[in-house]
């Protein structure tokens, strides 16, 4: 009876582990990862259920209260955090895991000090030590990542010695506890916790900003090891297994990060004091000569960007610091809309944690098919017209390949120097974290756009579309047959009683919101009823249009959500579309099989008249021809939305 019961229990444990493994396995595909995450969460819930069922509980009130407090806080923080804070958040979470591990070990040790087996006791002591150092190490890492602590490595005198003495002290204390020389064990345990916390602090403070991906992955592994040791004290297979899986994951990430920086784990954790100062000197020598390199050649850069057919964008930590990811995506979307081939090259250690750049770009709404790993994209650089470097230095430093004996020699890099032109949007031309000067900056085909990356990219975005050949064509077209549509449009507007304005991303690009709002208030002063219809996906982020119109001082009572305003279109005299296409494309409703079929749209086509103030008559992002443009009720005012709005204002005035 008991044997079959034990066998059943073993099977159940393995089932839970299998579900957990399935969850991790689903991470092989980006579109299944979300389900994988939920699967893993489900596995842990099952495990908790199993433990409760088998052992029961004496203190359900304490458990319930702690559960509500802990998970409530966790959930609240997770919902409120912004994406730029993710690295710090992950570090603090590691810390919380470390606290839980060492407190659990502590409680088990003081409870079972009389009857614990040798193995369990050693596991408990190791859990105590590793949990504590994970906690303090993560707190330091989190502090650095959230900029509460300085990013530079802080090196104490005889740093390595301090660490060694500290480590030996911890080991001695563990031995003393096991042998049982001292009566008061609790005192020993507290001393171990204290020493380990100190160890974590000394260990982490000398690791600098750009080595954070390694540290944070390493702490991920130690958190797993601590959990596994906790499992060994109480001989729980689920704990051991989950801990080991996390340890494996952390080790892989640590290994990948180290390899990508071409540094051994030892070199990251024990930065050679003889190496860094030398390089700092050599970097100071070179900054003087680098000033000769062309600076702020904005026009040339713009021309390169316009001419280029194949573009690779290389983001680095500088992009994260400047919060430039949204502007970068805006720029890449403009380029994509012009038919250019745009890709993103992601170096494994770009940023402050594994996959940092991917998260930031995903936040800004990138299609993840455009994100390419280093090995995949490196052969493409020689066929590329333009490499756009945004806040990255060491990962594109050709010295890693060309010069022997520098700290980055042999580190794998992105071969940006092989492309026809390189534009660097970096804050300065100083060497990166490694301290090795970047010869790429001095290349003939390189243009440096120094300064805040976000401002640089925004400037590119603003100037990019306005003088392109396409645009000139359209504006000349515009001028020849502009008179009739504009007059017609003005007449319609003046006779209208009820007007709905539909803004889209084009309005944002043309920065036309102020003119649009001016037009709206002008029409209102003539006694017309004006409303704004906001499609949920208009623009490039949730609520994008609302923000822009709020900036231009629109009363938010006038901003209507799609479902609210859709019934009103049929009673509306004129709909004015500013830079929106897909969100008013009737094909979404009446043509099956297109990429937008079934997408909810604003029913602009139900109105008596439609004015379309778009940049061109091409399809929008979806690539589906907009049948609204060919409707007889529609008046097309092609061109820059801001100047169209201005023309309308002038025409109404006169």
């Amino acid at each position: 009876m008991t044997e079959s019961y034990a066998a059943l229990n073993l099977v159940l444990d393995f089932c839970v582990i299998a579900i957990l493994i399935l969850g991790i396995w689903l991470f092989h595909w980006p579109h299944r990862a979300k389900f994988g995450n939920l699967t893993a969460a489900f596995a842990l819930a099952c495990a908790a259920g199993l433990v409760l069922y088998r052992n029961g509980t004496m203190y359900s009130n304490i458990i319930l209260l702690s559960l509500v407090v802990g998970s409530g806080a966790g959930f609240w923080v997770a919902k409120r955090i912004t994406m730029i804070q993710i690295p710090a958040m992950v570090a603090f979470q590691h810390g919380a895991g470390g606290v839980a591990a060492f407190l659990l070990s502590f409680a088990e040790l003081i409870r079972g000090s009389q009857h614990l087996g040798m193995v369990n006791e050693i596991s408990g002591l190791l859990g105590l030590a590793i949990g504590s150092l994970t906690f303090s190490g993560s707190m330091i890492a989190g502090g650095k990542l959230s900029n509460r602590l300085g990013q530079t490595p802080r090196i104490l005198p005889r740093h390595t010695w301090l660490l060694m003495i500290n480590l030996i002290g911890i080991i001695m204390l563990i031995i003393v506890s096991v042998v049982g020389l001292l009566e008061s064990r609790i005192f020993l345990y507290i001393l171990i916790i204290f020493m380990s916390v100190l160890f974590g602090v000394i260990f982490s403070i000398r690791i600098g900003g750009a080595d954070m991906p390694v540290l944070i992955s390493f702490l991920n592994a130690t958190a797993g090891v601590a959990a596994a040791f906790c499992g060994m004290i109480i001989e729980n297979k689920l704990l051991i297994s989950c801990g080991a899986t996390v340890a494996a994951s952390g080790s892989i990430l640590t290994h990948v990060m180290c390899k990508a920086m071409n540094r051994s784990l030892y070199r990251v954790f024990v930065p050679g004091q003889d190496i860094s100062p030398k390089n700092k000197i050599s970097s100071q020598d070179t900054t003087d000569t680098q000033i000769i390199a062309p600076k702020n050649n904005f026009q040339t850069a713009l021309e390169y960007a316009r001419e280029a057919k194949k573009v690779i964008i290389i983001p680095g930590y500088g992009m994260a610091v400047a919060q430039a990811q949204f502007a970068v995506i805006q720029l890449s979307n403009i380029m994509l809309d012009m038919g250019k081939d745009v890709k993103f090259a992601i170096h494994p250690v770009a940023g402050r944690m594994p996959g940092h750049m991917n998260v930031l770009l995903a936040e800004a709404g990138i299609d993840y098919d455009l994100l390419k790993e280093m090995d995949e994209i490196n052969p493409d650089f020689s066929k590329t017209d333009l490499s756009l470097v945004i806040g990255a230095c060491d990962v594109v430093n050709p010295a890693a390949i060309e010069v022997d004996g520098s700290p980055i020699s042999g580190m794998p890099i992105l071969h940006a120097h092989k492309s026809r032109h390189v534009v660097c949007c970096n804050l300065d031309d100083k060497p990166g974290y490694s301290g090795v000067k970047n010869p790429l900056y001095e290349n003939e085909n390189t243009i440096l756009l120094l300064g805040n990356a976000k401002e640089t990219i925004e400037r590119l975005v603003e100037t990019f579309p306005q003088v392109t050949p396409d645009m000139e064509e359209y504006s000349s077209l515009n001028q020849t047959d502009q008179k009739n549509p504009l007059e017609l449009a003005t007449a319609t507007l003046l006779s209208a009683q009820k007007i709905i304005i539909v803004p889209g991303y084009g309005m944002a690009l043309a920065q036309a919101q102020f003119k649009v709002v001016q037009l709206a208030s002008m029409l209102e002063s003539l006694g017309t009823d004006v409303k704004f219809a906001i499609h949920p996906v208009a623009g490039r982020m949730p609520g994008h249009m609302n923000v822009l119109l709020a900036e231009a001082d629109v009363d938010y009572d006038k901003l209507y959500e799609m479902d609210e305003i859709n019934p009103e279109f049929s009673q509306t005299d004129v709909v004015i579309v500013f830079g929106a296409c897909d969100v008013v494309n009737p094909s979404a409703m009446d043509t099956p099989g297109t990429p937008i079929s079934g997408m909810p749209i604003l029913m602009a086509h139900d109105a008596k008249r439609i004015l379309v103030c778009n940049f061109d008559a091409n399809p929008g992002y979806s690539g589906v021809e907009n049948t609204l443009y060919k409707d007889q009720k529609t008046i097309m005012l092609i061109g820059d939305a801001a100047s169209t709005a201005n023309n309308l204002i002038e025409a109404i005035k006169s």
């Binding site: 995450n37 939920l38 842990l44 923080v77 839980a100 991920n220 704990l239 623009g539 940049f615």
Partner: protein
């Protein structure tokens, strides 16, 4: 002794399986992966549940409840933030205005 061997066996088995499983996960998902495994490391919550399954002293209860709060924070926060992050990864935008 058999217990020790079993435990070491489970550790090695999970480590190796985990290693092979995770080493081929695309770098695209490294941050969510780390964030999720971070949540999994809060499995220590099971240990606290076991701690509370038998009568314990006041000290143990206090330590245990702090450990429980921390583990629950790590667990729920970790999975929630991973979920939020993964929602950001989209293949294509579902529309949007066109200039």
């Amino acid at each position: 002794m058999t217990n020790l061997l079993l435990m070491i066996g489970i550790f090695l088995f999970s480590f190796v399986v985990g290693y092979f499983l995770i080493s081929r996960i695309p770098t695209l998902l490294h941050t969510p992966l780390m964030s999720m495994t971070n949540a999994i490391s809060a499995v220590t919550i099971l240990g606290v549940l076991i701690l509370f399954s038998v009568a314990s002293t006041r000290t143990e209860q206090i330590i245990g409840s702090i450990a429980f709060v921390m583990a629950a924070f790590n667990l729920v926060g970790g999975f929630a933030i991973t979920d939020r992050m993964l929602r950001l990864f989209k293949k294509k935008e579902t529309g949007g205005g066109a200039p």
